[in-house]
Symmetry: C2
Subunit: 358 residues, 2 copies
């Protein structure tokens, strides 16, 4: 394949400011490495669209997105217009599920120029990849309320893990570890407290691990695992976790590196039956929207992951990814810097500076 | 009441080393402040007992413990003899549930003499109390496996929150905030992802909060909340959380202060219908057991919380608590220090040094 179709969904708030900069860099890299991109921008999957139409997306959203090779997503959510659960479950979480994007891949790395809140940690000390199950588990939406409105009221919600859903995320993590220097997988669990689903999750980990004799692995309970992210983050390489635990770890990991505002993510359907989605981890940030001061690095880095994925982590897309990351690293050191990193530059300034290095 | 009966359950591993030091200090404080204690030690709720009898506790454990005012617990677990889920669910988690110890109270504080892993944080910067729901929620043990052994296998586990169980933990947190300088409650949630039980949890928080107009409060999703524990821990005062989220936060909070090995906990039945249980957060630590090098501070601090609770956070027990904490703080600065804090002192040395200051 030499030509890729990308749906661009800037969404809400600073999504609309950072995605243009991401596109600037993605286009520059695509040109340099000879990747032909067809970009199709949509204004839906946004709260503005909801305000006009009463739904987050048009009825034929699936039809429109299915022919795409990837979705480049900004951020969604504008609580003043639409309640979070409506905007999120009406767009982002719908994509993850209906496009079977069962891997949420999120790196956490220390960089020169970005201060880690942990004492003494500098560039290169922390370098982990968090592999989050992205479609099932604790986010099942199955459950309900009993005795509603009485003093006996009880709410129940299921965590649901399928063998297929669990095995595939474990396999993805172990395959990923093969490509890494340290070749280690940490499995997040809580089987001493969550006594039915988590021991079962552990059993799936053991089964899959036994097929990878060259990959070392261990499992750690989520409580002590979070503590160790703070106490000894350099020990982690690939970390695989359920939907909820992965959600927690992929905010905590970047927080420990000081890069929470810079963190990218890839919502992958590795088999490419459906388009995968690439988005910054940060949200729409109503408090800073409109000032052109949002840091575009998370969106740009997400764009780099997209190019890498399009060409199977090989060839032109892979080179483009590495070139973008090198440009990001250079600009994190030299500036320009947006206010979150102590600078005075605008979103546009940073996007241009990164694009110029390509 | 002027006479209190305490069941002492050292349990396994370093529980058997730290509890004697805790008792040394508790006895010294009780004597100084005129509190009459009757201590009854049991060797069960331990894996040794399991190895001899095939169960973690005698059949009449409830009868034996019910007359007690408190349980002073060491640690349980010795995976080489008994699987964790058997030892834990056969003792500690049984107490929490059957004695309706619905509050798990866990402080996290920075101290002089203990290095925080966070850059620039020193004594007094972090001072939070984590209020963990301790009997229901994600630890329900309700669920099961379907299509077992086939490729369609699915495991499900319920999270179950009752109105009574949720309201009482919220009330406890808001009442506690009244006694604090900053009077702020943070409610941990994940209502944007866990779409049935957590919005319901948020509604209970709002209801209870409305009865406390003088207490400020906010709710934060667990992912960003964990990140903020690392990025701006000084902003937290009282944090209330479900069983699972409280478990995570009460390892992460102490980790951020550098005191994870020093962290105490109180498993409370505030109405005193059943005995409450006081235990260090750390486990039985098979790797260091038998060397007399475990840090006894967590056990000693838990003993202080016990004395405070016995007299309703007033009078002699409250004074004893504050005196023990002052002695702990002094010894953390001057030493002796166990190896985990960079010293060469024994468990006994530290226990004696703290007791001598009383
Ligand atoms: C051992 C385990 C079941 C327990 C829990 O998760 O409650 C422990 O982590 C704790 O925090 O007391
Ligand atoms: C917004 C929210 C539902 C979402 C999640 O929990 O998955 C976000 O935190 C994320 O990590 O992408």
């Amino acid at each position: 394949k030499t030509h890729y179709k990308i749906a661009v969904l800037p969404g809400d708030g600073i999504g609309k400011e950072v995605i243009p900069e991401g596109l600037r860099v993605v286009k520059a890299a695509a040109q340099r490495f000879g990747i032909a991109l067809e970009l199709v921008e949509f204004d839906w999957a946004s709260c503005d669209y909801y305000a006009q139409t009463g739904s987050m997306m048009p009825d034929n959203w699936k039809e429109l997105l299915l022919p795409m090779d990837a979705i480049y997503f900004g951020a969604v959510g504008w609580p003043a217009i639409v309640a979070d659960h409506i905007s999120l479950w009406g767009s982002l979480l719908k994509f993850r599920r209906e496009f079977d994007q069962y891997i949420n891949l999120r790196p956490a790395q220390t960089f020169a120029g970005v201060r880690s809140p942990l004492a003494g940690r500098t560039a290169g000390d922390i370098d982990m990849l968090i592999v989050r199950e992205n479609t099932e588990g604790e986010y099942s939406s199955v459950g309900g309320i009993m005795y509603e409105g009485t003093e006996n009221e009880v709410v129940m919600q299921q965590s649901i893990f399928s063998r297929r859903g669990t095995e595939r995320v474990m396999k993805f993590a172990f395959e990923l570890a093969k490509t890494r220097a340290r070749k280690h997988v940490t499995v997040a669990t809580k089987s001493n407290g969550i006594s039915i689903s988590m021991p079962w999750w552990d059993a799936r980990a053991s089964e899959v691990a036994s097929a990878y004799p060259d990959i070392s692995w261990d499992k750690q309970h989520i409580d002590i695992l979070c503590a160790r992210f703070v106490l000894s983050p350099e020990r982690f390489d690939v970390v695989v976790a359920s939907n909820l635990f992965g959600d927690i770890l992929s905010d905590l990991g970047p927080a420990c590196t000081g890069t929470i505002g810079l963190a990218p993510s890839a919502n992958l359907n590795p088999e490419r039956r459906f388009p995968s989605l690439f988005e910054p981890v940060h949200g729409s940030a109503p408090d800073i929207y409109g000032k052109n001061i949002a840091n575009p690095v998370a969106a740009i880095w997400s764009g780099a992951m997209m190019l890498d994925f399009l060409t199977n982590s090989k060839g032109a897309g892979h080179e483009a990814h590495d070139a973008i990351l090198a440009a990001i690293k250079a600009v994190l050191i030299s500036g320009p810097h947006t206010p979150d990193l102590g600078g005075k530059a605008s979103t546009t300034d940073v996007g241009k500076a990164i694009a110029e290095r390509l």
